[in-house]
C-alpha cells in the first residue's frame, strides 16, 4: 500500500504541493485528477524518487522510502512523452527494466515478449521506436513499464498526446489491462471523463491539496465545493440567500429552491451558491418535485442517449440540463428538481476558490 504523508514541495519559490496526504489500496487504480499546473506530475515524480519533497514522507507498506534511490524502488513510471530510448529497438526498450534486474536471458526474452503481447504489439519487437505512431509508442511505453512487474505503476497523463478516437480505444484497453494484471496503479490526468472511466479511487487536487477523495460516484454525487463542481463539468451555479434553515431553502433569482447543504451548517440570510445538477431525469414533469422553476428553451443539442437542453430564466441566467424528452426551441416550461439534486455551498468558500483560481 502506498501512502503519502503531508508532502510539501515548492516550485520556483511558490508552494506547489501544500501537504498532500493520501493512501492507495493494493490492487486498485487511484486517479489523481486536477487542472494542469496543479502539481500532479510533480507528485508522481516524488513518489518515483525523481524529486525530493521539502517536507513529508512517501511510505510503501509502512516503510519510509526517503532513503531509497529511484532505481531501487521497484516502481514503474510511464512518462507523458513516453521517453522511449531513441537508440534502442522496441524490444530493447521493453527489456531494459528486466535486464536491470539481472534476470537470465531467456526469462528476459519471455517476459519482454509477453509484455509486448499484452499491449498487442507482438510483431513490433525489432522495430525502431522512432518509426512508431503515437499510439504505438504509447503501448511500447506501457509494455516497458509493465514488463519488470513493478509494485506500483504510475501513469502520467498517458493519453494526453493522442487524438480523441485513439484515446477512447486505448483507455478501454488500459482499463482492461489494469484490471487483468491487478497491479496497483496511480493514474494522473486532468480529464474528468478519463478519471471517472478508469479510477477505483479518485483524488481531486486543487491548490496543492487533495480537496476531495472517494469513488467516482461519490465525487460526482457531491462535489465538495463549487470549484470542484465546475472542474467536474457541472456549471449550473446560481447565487442565492438562505431563507429558511429546516428544511433548507434558498431564495434565488430563478425561484426558491430546497436543497441540502454541503460543508458546514448554513446560517440564515447567508449568501450561498447553489448547484443544480443536470442529470438526465424526468424533470419535465413538475409534479412531485419540491423545486419548480420556469424557463425557456433556447438550445437543444442531440447527444447519443439524450438531449442537452439550455434553458434561459427570467433573470437572463442560462442553465443546462439533460433529458430524453424532445423539446421545442422557444418553448417555455416548468421543470422540477428533487432536493438531492440541489446542493448549497457557502458563498465565502466559492469566493476563496475564485480568488485562488485567478491568482494561479
Amino acid at each position: 500500500m502506498l501512502e503519502l504523508d503531508q508532502v510539501w514541495k515548492a516550485y520556483l519559490g511558490k508552494p506547489l504541493l501544500r501537504g498532500i496526504s493520501l493512501k492507495v489500496e493494493v490492487g486498485k487504480t487511484a486517479c489523481l485528477l486536477g487542472p494542469s499546473g496543479s502539481g500532479k506530475s510533480t507528485l508522481l515524480r516524488i513518489i518515483a524518487g525523481l524529486e525530493i519533497p521539502e517536507r513529508g514522507k512517501v511510505l510503501w507498506k509502512g516503510q519510509d522510502l526517503s532513503g531509497i534511490p529511484v532505481h531501487q524502488r521497484e516502481f514503474g513510471l510511464m512518462f507523458q512523452d513516453y521517453a522511449l530510448f531513441p537508440h534502442r529497438s522496441v524490444y530493447e526498450n521493453v527489456a531494459f527494466g528486466l535486464r536491470m534486474q539481472n534476470l537470465p536471458k531467456e526469462t528476459i526474452r519471455e517476459r519482454a515478449l509477453e509484455a509486448l503481447n499484452m499491449v498487442n504489439l507482438a510483431g513490433f519487437a525489432s522495430r525502431k521506436v522512432t518509426d512508431l505512431s503515437g499510439g504505438e509508442q504509447q503501448r511500447v511505453a506501457l509494455a516497458r513499464a509493465l514488463a519488470p512487474r513493478p509494485r506500483l505503476l504510475m501513469l502520467d497523463e498517458p493519453l494526453g498526446a493522442l487524438d480523441r478516437t485513439l484515446r477512447e480505444s486505448l483507455l478501454e484497453e488500459l482499463r482492461k489491462l489494469l484490471r487483468k494484471t491487478g497491479i496497483t496503479a496511480i493514474y494522473v490526468t486532468h480529464d474528468q471523463e478519463e478519471a471517472f472511466f478508469i479510477a477505483d479511487q479518485l483524488f481531486l487536487l486543487h491548490d496543492g491539496l487533495v480537496i476531495q477523495q472517494g469513488s467516482p460516484v461519490s465525487l460526482y454525487d457531491c462535489p465538495i465545493n463549487p470549484w470542484a463542481a465546475r472542474f467536474l463539468g457541472m456549471s449550473n451555479l446560481v447565487e442565492g440567500c438562505v431563507s429558511s434553515l429546516n428544511p433548507l431553502k434558498v431564495s434565488t433569482p430563478i425561484g426558491e429552491l430546497t436543497g441540502k447543504i454541503v460543508g458546514k451548517a448554513a446560517r440564515l440570510k447567508e449568501q450561498v451558491v447553489v448547484l443544480l445538477k443536470s442529470d438526465i431525469g424526468d424533470w419535465c414533469n413538475r409534479n412531485g418535485f419540491l423545486n419548480q422553476i420556469y424557463g425557456k428553451v433556447i438550445d437543444v443539442v442531440f447527444r447519443e442517449h439524450s438531449y442537452r437542453v439550455k434553458l434561459r430564466f427570467k433573470n437572463g441566467q442560462e442553465l443546462t440540463f439533460f433529458t430524453s424528452v424532445v423539446l421545442e426551441l422557444g418553448q417555455e416550461l416548468w421543470i422540477g428538481l428533487p432536493p438531492e439534486s440541489v446542493l448549497v455551498y457557502s458563498a465565502e468558500e466559492d469566493a476563496l476558490c475564485e480568488r485562488s483560481r485567478s491568482s494561479s
Binding site: L50, P69, H71, P86, H87, F96
Partner: protein, 558 residues
C-alpha cells in the same frame, strides 16, 4: 521565370567567386601538389625522404592526440556542469570561455610566455623569493607548454559541442532508465553515453583537427625537436629554402585534414539524429548536495584560472617594468610603466623594422578592412550563386569549404611558389596578404550569410514584385535590410580573423609592412627586456581590438 534564366543568372554570379578562388586558391594549391609530386618522382620514396615526412607527421599526430585527450578530460566534466547545473556566474563564464575562440595564436603564445617564459610571472616570482639571478624553470619550448595552450584553445569546443548535445538530451530518458531500475553508472553507460557519443566524437575530431593544424602556438611555444608538419613546412620553405620538401609536407597535411574534416561532418550529421529539444530549463538545477557543490566550484575555479591567468599575465606584464631585466644585480624592483607602449611609437635605428612598430597596427587595420570587404563581397556573391544553383549547390558548397581544411601555411607556400614574378609578386605586391586572409575568412563569412539569405522566404520578394517593385528595388527593399545583420557579423568576423592571422602572413608580409602578429612574433624572438615588453604591449593591444570586435558581434547577434 524560366529555368534558363536562373541558370544564366547563376553563371553570371559564379564568375567572380570562381575566378577569385581559382587564381588565389586552387592555382597555388595545385602548385604545391606539383612540387610535391616532382620531389616524389625525382627522389622516389627514399628512406631519407620518408623519414623527413614521417618524423614531423608522427609528432603532429602525437601532440594532437595527447592535447585532444587532455582537452577531453577537462572539457567533459565542464560540459556536464554547463548542461545540467544552474550556478552563479554561468552567463559570465559562458562569455569567458568564448574568449579563446577569437584570440590570435600570437596573443595566446605571448600570454603563455608572460606566464611561463623566462621573463614570465612564475619565473619572476621564483627568482624573487629564492633570490636567484636567472630564471629557474624552463617551461617554454616544451611539449607541456604546447599542450597547455591547446587545452586553453579547445576546451571551449568540447564544452560548447558536447554541452549543448547534453543539454538537449531529454532528461526523461535518464529518469525512465533509473525508474526501470538502472543505477546511475548504468544510466550513464546505457543511455547518456550512447546518445551523446556522436557529439563527443565530433568535438574530439574538431579539436584534433585544430591541434593537428596548429602553427603559431607550436612555432612560438615549442622548440627544437618539437616541429609539427606546419612548423616543418615553415622551416623548410623559409629557412632551408627547400620548397619541394615543404610542398610534399603540405600535400600530406592537406590529405590528413581532409580525412579529419569528412570524419567530423559525418559525426556531426549523426549527432543531430534523434535528439528532441526539451523545454527551456528542464533538467537544469542548482547544485545542492555537497558533492555537487564541490564539483561545480572546482570546475568553475579551474576554468577561470585556465582562461583568465594567461591573459591577465599578459596584460599586467605589458605594464610592469622589472629592473632586474636590465641586468642590474640585487633585488628585483617592480613598478608600473607605460614605457613599452610609448616605445611602440618610436622608430629606433636598431629597430626590427624600417618603420615604427605602431605602423604594424595601421597595417593590420588596413589589411583587416580590405579582408572584410573582399571576403564579404565574395561571400555574398557566392551565397546568391548557391541559392540559384539548385541541386548541385550542395556539391559546390562542400567544395567551397575546402579553404577551411587548407592550412594557412600551405596557402602561403602556394603563393610563394606561384606569385614570384610580375605582375603579382609576393615581394612587391602587399595586397596578397588581405587576399590570403580573405580566403581563410571566406568559409566563415559564407556560413554566416548563406543561412540568412536562405531564410528569406521567396514569397516576400514575390509580394514586393507584385506590388510593383523592380528586381533591383526588390533587392534593395527586401534582401538588403534582411541581410544587413548577417553581413555585418560576417564582416567583423573576417576583420578579426585577418587581425590575428599568422600562418599565411609569415610567408607573405614584407619587413616594411609588418602586421601586429608578425611584429609580436619578431619582438618575442629578439633578446632584451625592451623587445619583450613591446611584444607584451602589442599583444595586449591586439587582444583588446579582438575583444572589442567580438563584443560587437555578440551584441548584434542578440
Amino acid at each position: 521565370m524560366s529555368k534558363r534564366f536562373n541558370f544564366n543568372g547563376a553563371i553570371l554570379l559564379w564568375i567572380a567567386p570562381i575566378a577569385f578562388l581559382g587564381l588565389f586558391f586552387f592555382y597555388p594549391l595545385l602548385a604545391v601538389f606539383r612540387v610535391a609530386g616532382e620531389i616524389a618522382i625525382t627522389e622516389g620514396f627514399s628512406v631519407d625522404l620518408l623519414e623527413r615526412v614521417w618524423k614531423p607527421l608522427g609528432f603532429t599526430v602525437y601532440q594532437a592526440g595527447l592535447s585532444t585527450l587532455i582537452t577531453l578530460l577537462i572539457g567533459l566534466p565542464a560540459a556536464y556542469l554547463f548542461a545540467r547545473y544552474e550556478f552563479v556566474g554561468k552567463k559570465a563564464l559562458r562569455v569567458l570561455i568564448l574568449l579563446p575562440f577569437i584570440l590570435p595564436t600570437v596573443v595566446v603564445a605571448a600570454s603563455f610566455n608572460a606566464l611561463l617564459g623566462p621573463r614570465g610571472w612564475i619565473n619572476i616570482f621564483l627568482m624573487s623569493i629564492l633570490g636567484l639571478e636567472s630564471p629557474p624553470m624552463q617551461l617554454l619550448q616544451s611539449l607541456p607548454a604546447i599542450i597547455l595552450a591547446h587545452v586553453f584553445y579547445n576546451t571551449t569546443i568540447i564544452i560548447r559541442v558536447v554541452g549543448s548535445a547534453w543539454e538537449q538530451l531529454n532528461p526523461r530518458w535518464e529518469e525512465a532508465a533509473s525508474v526501470l531500475g538502472a543505477p546511475p553508472g548504468r544510466v550513464w553507460w546505457e543511455i547518456t553515453r550512447p546518445l551523446i557519443q556522436p557529439s563527443i566524437l565530433a568535438a574530439s575530431l574538431l579539436v584534433f583537427l585544430f591541434d593537428f593544424t596548429s602553427f603559431g602556438v607550436i612555432l612560438m611555444l615549442g622548440g627544437p625537436g618539437l616541429a609539427t608538419l606546419e612548423v616543418e613546412i615553415y622551416i623548410q620553405a623559409l629557412q632551408m629554402l627547400n620548397l619541394p620538401l615543404a610542398g610534399l609536407l603540405s600535400a600530406v597535411q592537406l590529405i590528413c585534414t581532409l580525412i579529419l574534416m569528412s570524419g567530423y561532418s559525418f559525426f556531426t550529421r549523426q549527432s543531430t539524429l534523434g535528439l528532441i529539444p526539451r523545454l527551456f530549463g528542464e533538467g537544469v538545477r542548482r547544485p545542492h548536495r555537497w558533492k555537487e557543490i564541490v564539483y561545480s566550484w572546482m570546475i568553475v575555479g579551474f576554468l577561470v584560472v585556465l582562461f583568465v591567468t594567461p591573459l591577465a599575465a599578459l596584460g599586467f606584464r605589458s605594464i610592469t617594468k622589472l629592473d632586474a631585466n636590465r641586468g642590474e644585480r640585487g633585488e628585483i624592483q617592480a613598478g608600473l610603466t607605460l614605457d613599452y607602449y610609448q616605445e611602440l611609437f618610436i622608430n629606433r635605428r636598431q629597430s626590427l623594422f624600417y618603420v615604427p612598430p605602431l605602423a604594424a597596427v595601421r597595417n593590420s587595420l588596413i589589411y583587416a578592412g580590405l579582408t572584410a570587404v573582399i571576403s564579404l563581397s565574395l561571400g555574398v556573391l557566392t551565397a546568391y550563386a548557391l541559392r540559384r544553383s539548385g541541386k548541385i549547390s550542395r556539391v559546390i558548397d562542400a567544395f567551397l569549404m575546402l579553404p577551411l581544411g587548407t592550412s594557412a601555411v600551405t596557402l602561403g607556400l602556394g603563393y610563394i611558389l606561384v606569385f614570384n614574378r610580375p605582375p603579382i609578386d609576393v615581394r612587391t605586391f602587399p595586397l596578397l596578404v588581405p587576399v590570403a586572409h580573405s580566403l581563410v575568412a571566406f568559409p566563415f563569412v559564407l556560413r554566416t550569410v548563406l543561412p540568412a539569405l536562405l531564410s528569406i522566404p521567396g514569397s516576400l520578394r514575390q509580394a514586393a514584385a507584385v506590388m510593383g517593385a523592380s528586381p533591383l528595388r526588390v533587392w534593395w527593399e527586401v534582401d538588403r535590410p534582411l541581410l544587413t545583420k548577417a553581413a555585418l557579423v560576417g564582416a567583423i568576423f573576417s576583420f578579426t580573423i585577418s587581425l590575428g592571422e599568422f600562418g599565411a602572413t609569415t610567408f607573405l608580409s614584407r619587413p616594411e609592412f609588418p602586421t601586429m602578429p608578425v611584429a609580436i612574433f619578431r619582438f618575442l624572438a629578439q633578446p632584451g627586456a625592451l623587445n619583450y615588453g613591446q611584444a607584451m604591449a602589442m599583444a595586449t593591444l591586439l587582444l583588446v581590438i579582438c575583444g572589442v570586435s567580438i563584443y560587437l558581434v555578440d551584441k548584434m547577434d542578440r
